[in-house]
């Protein structure tokens, strides 16, 4: 190797970073003009820039972890939510028991749905479409650690919240939205949601595996709430 591995690895006179910044229109006009003038007279840079431009047109998959807009009362009054629910198509998900309050604890888990930019609270009989984004909210009288797991129709367990491997702290409050939402996939059938509210940051991967095997065994110090989603 190679006095100049770079010469053998990267083909263009401008770096990939500069070409990407040019395509993203991040450069100043002076920088961009200098690059344009060079590219116009350089076959190598012309070819590489064209390759990058083509690559930039690739259709990306949905962002798996998605944000929802902050909950706004004007977006989903009860009447609107009910109307949307009634109008939903047969291919949508049916959410059964969308909010479960744990007896004696004051804990509750709620779900909000973003369907094509409209956010609404999931209610009894609520229907949501594959591809919709969902976001959970927690009501808790004290600070607690929260996790939301799911078992999809194929029997695969996954962790909806949080992104890390342990339950994350959530402040006490009424319907405190969890920071991240999730985009629903296209899998049809029944899906189960398990919400955990714990006194400590319990490890979630063992619980996910247990969920796939018919569990989970609820860790000490945790409360659980379960939902069932049915895809029609």
């Amino acid at each position: 190797m190679t006095p100049s591995l770079a010469d053998r690895t990267w083909n263009a006179c401008f770096s990939a970073l500069q070409l990407d910044r040019f395509l993203a229109r991040e450069m100043t006009e002076g920088e961009a003009e200098r690059l344009r003038v060079h590219v116009a007279g350089c076959a190598r840079c012309t070819a590489v820039l064209e390759e990058l431009r083509i690559a930039s047109e690739e259709r990306l998959p949905p962002l798996r972890v998605v944000p929802l807009a902050p909950r706004s009362r004007t977006l989903f009054p009860a009447a609107v939510a009910a109307a949307v629910g009634l109008a939903a198509a047969a291919s949508l998900l049916l959410v059964v028991r969308p909010s479960t309050r744990l007896k004696g604890t004051g804990f509750a888990l709620s779900m909000y749905v973003d369907h094509r930019g409209e956010v609404r609270r999931a209610g009894p009989g609520e229907t949501v479409a594959p591809g919709d984004a969902v976001r959970f909210a927690v009501s808790a009288p004290v600070n607690a650690y929260v996790a939301v797991l799911s078992l999809d129709p194929m029997g695969r367990g996954s962790i909806y919240f949080p992104a890390g491997g342990r339950a994350e702290p959530v402040q006490a409050g009424d319907e405190v939205p969890l920071p991240l939402g999730t985009r629903l996939d296209e899998t049809v059938g029944e899906e189960r949601i398990v919400g955990l509210l714990c006194a400590s940051a319990v490890e979630l991967e063992p619980l996910r595996l247990q969920l796939e095997q018919g569990g989970p065994t609820i860790p000490e110090g945790c409360q659980v709430t379960r939902w069932s989603f049915v895809k029609r």
Binding site: L5, R8, T9, A24
Partner: protein, 160 residues
Amino acid sequence: MTLDGAAIERLYRSHGHVVLRRARALLGSEPDAQEALQEVFASLLRAPQSLRNAASVVGWLYQATTHFCLNLLRHQRTGARLLQARIAPAPAPGCRGEALAELRSVLSRLPAEVAAAAVYHHMDGMTHDEVAALLGCSRRKVGYLLERVQQSLARLERSA
């Protein structure tokens, strides 16, 4: 820059291809590259403030992608054998496949900062100035890091 969730999702649509292209080149595995794409933007959702002070969005995405991919390579303890097995059949745009494979084969063995310098200079074709700006260090240090890359590759050639 306002970075609410919707802005980050728009950023994913407009700039995600940069992450995906570089992850493919670095990892040589389509599933791993797709994972990198998701993880880089998930990290932004978790900590949007990390981008607020960045001079360049593209530059920030380069750093985040490089960091994630090098960690992944480092954590795949089967090391060079796995790396060789995962070399992508087609080179990334602008890159020559054989030299890219040579570079990829040593990345997991290098310290993080050295590996990052190698990626920026050898794979992305950055000047020392550009590498220094991304790493937040001096040009002199970039020269030092790249010399360590060269020594590592020379050792690898001798042992091969």
